[in-house]
């Protein structure tokens, strides 16, 4: 868990509608985050400082523009990868994962069998 919280939510004014926080699953662990904002904003305000690693060099990356123009905030949300987390509203129970490295495509079963056979023969 990162120790440096870069951002925080200002105290919500009295009488704001709705709950102020929701609990999501972040990389498999429960995390309480601010509600009624984007996933990226919610994570930044909860001490998260890295949302993905660059597929080119593995360098850590984090949200940069917060408006959908930089594509740095790509995360896997509810099973779908490469979603712009600054454009997705956070909801209770959402499953959010950091995106590390390049996308891997699942191989069709026939190819998987063939590949396994290749390795066996050396």
């Amino acid at each position: 868990m990162p120790t440096d919280r870069l951002f925080k939510r200002l105290a919500a004014p009295a009488g704001s509608p709705g709950a102020d926080t929701v609990t999501i699953e972040f990389n498999g662990a429960a995390l309480e985050v601010p509600a009624r904002c984007s996933v990226a904003a919610a994570l930044l305000a909860s001490g998260v400082t890295r949302v993905r690693n660059s597929p080119v060099s593995g360098a850590p990356r984090a949200p940069y523009c917060m408006m959908g123009a930089c594509f740095e905030c790509l995360m896997e949300i509810d099973g779908q990868p490469s979603r712009q987390s600054c454009l997705v509203t956070v909801r209770a129970g959402m499953r959010v994962r950091t995106q590390d490295g390049a996308r891997t495509l699942p191989l069709p079963p026939a190819v998987q069998t063939g590949r396994a056979a290749e390795v066996e023969h050396g």
Binding site: K8, S38, V56, P60, A62, C65, A69
Partner: protein, 459 residues
């Protein structure tokens, strides 16, 4: 062939889009406005409809002024299609968008592109580190999520938006470690030539001066004429280095907010193969348009910052002009009615654009922060450095599209939004030719990401 669904399709719910919708619906036209966000306002008025009195106080009167326009838009009768990521606009006026996991499309007689501006790239060493965001991003965090820096933050660069953010932070009680301003003596000298226009736009000037005074009174440390900016850090920001008034400085910080102006978001106009021209005053590409904002693609207009940077009030005026023009093209207004209504709008527009030459001169982004040294990453997505691109040019690469082939520069998810201007200028500089000759990336749909599954899942 799909039937025409609406008279006018407007892309973008910022001031230009909202004003265009209000003007067009007023003539009886059927209007649909599509926007990515759930509420109207674009970026400049983001969150305006649910802003509390405290938020309005912090963000200031220019932001609060957007409320009236948002209310008029809500009452206009235009269809507001929210959460819609437009991924293609065709020359035949079909608008393709992704909404709730499936694609949909609508056809219009006229299309008005109001996609606004985005932050100018700021390629300095370390700009890709976690903890670096744009000033615009910080404003969006404040407007849309009530989120602010937890530790004293460094603001670096130049331009009204940077100082406005500082002012808003002071009002919100957010501590600012420093404002590192790249504006220097030579900039003031250059801007003096445009003082006439600035004085004509004296209301803007007065606002700006008041803002700067408030920052000083707020005790915000200011470093002027800053150069040699670089961000230190391995996995995250650790410090900002710069030189100011002959002295080297290192500011330890975990967050740096960068800004050196905004530039038109031209993804759709380029994808339409519309003509663009390089503007050397604003150092960006602008679509070539007539006095109503019409592209060289019939029936498609551009209004607002997407045409050229002019600010929110100018954007609304251009939106209104475009709405009237589109309504005229549909036969809802005759030319005389259109021109009569346009005349006061054009006068107001001239007045609001009067200060632009002064601002463009004063806050002209530094060459070193636009065309960086070899080791600086230019294409963030594919991690292509300035040195790599100079190497491509030495091997015969003549423009941005060849740079794609040479080294994947511009082929990442952002589709050149973060690197395009830098690459154009860098190649122009390396080849010794003007940016107009070098050109820009060929932009192809989808303008926003869609999956094959979503494409197959037509609403």
């Amino acid at each position: 062939m799909a039937e025409i669904d609406v008279d006018i399709a407007i892309i973008g719910a910022g001031p230009a889009g909202m004003a265009a919708a209000v003007a067009a619906t007023g003539t009886g036209a059927r209007v649909a406005l599509l926007d990515e966000q759930e509420a109207c306002g674009g970026q400049i008025y983001r969150g305006i409809q649910r802003a509390t009195p405290e938020r309005l106080r912090i963000l200031g009167p220019d932001y609060a002024a957007g409320r009236a326009l948002a209310d008029r838009f809500a009452a206009s009768g235009a269809q507001h299609i929210t959460g819609a990521a437009v991924w293609q606009v065709t020359r035949e006026h079909t608008v393709h968008y992704l909404r709730n996991g499936s694609v949909a499309s609508l056809r219009a007689h006229q299309v008005i592109l109001c996609t606004g501006a985005m932050e100018r790239p700021f390629p300095i060493p370390g700009w890709t580190l976690p903890g670096v965001l744009t000033a615009g991003a910080a404003q969006i965090l404040l407007k849309s999520a009530d989120v602010v820096p937890a530790e004293p933050v460094v603001l670096a660069g130049c331009g009204p938006l940077l100082y406005l953010l500082g002012w808003q932070y002071v009002r919100a009680g957010v501590p600012i470690r420093a404002i590192v301003d790249t504006t220097g003596g030579a900039d003031y000298q250059r801007a003096l030539a445009h003082l006439g226009g600035a004085l004509a736009g004296w209301r803007y000037l007065k606002k700006g001066l008041a803002l700067m005074r408030a920052l000083k009174r707020g005790g915000v440390p200011f470093y002027k004429g800053a150069s040699g900016l670089s961000i230190e850090g391995d996995d995250a920001v650790q410090a900002l280095h710069f030189t100011s008034r002959g002295q080297a400085h290192r500011l330890a910080t975990h967050a740096v907010l960068l800004h050196q102006g905004v530039v038109p978001n031209t993804q759709f106009s380029w994808a339409l193969r519309a003509a663009h021209r390089w503007d050397d005053t604003q150092l960006c590409w602008q679509p070539v348009v007539d006095e109503w904002g019409t592209l060289d693609v019939p029936g498609i207009l551009v209004a607002g910052d997407g045409r050229g940077i002019g600010g929110a009030v100018a954007a609304a005026l251009q939106g209104e002009l475009a709405g009237l023009a589109a309504a005229h093209n549909l036969g809802k207004l005759d030319a005389a009615q259109r021109d009569r209504r346009a005349a006061p709008l054009r006068a107001a527009l001239r007045s609001h654009l009067g200060i632009r030459p002064f601002l463009d001169a004063l806050y002209r982004p530094k060459a070193a922060n636009r065309v960086p040294a070899d080791d600086v990453v230019v294409c963030r997505c594919e991690e292509v450095t300035a040195g790599d691109i100079r190497g491509f040019v030495a091997l015969g690469c003549s423009g941005p599209n060849q740079a794609k082939s040479f080294g994947r520069c511009g082929m990442g998810p952002c589709q050149g939004r973060q690197c395009g201007l830098t690459v154009t200028e860098l190649i122009a500089d390396a080849r010794g030719v003007p940016p107009q000759e070098v050109g820009y990336y060929r932009i192809r749909p989808p303008i926003k990401p869609i999956t094959l599954g979503e494409l197959a899942n037509e609403a």
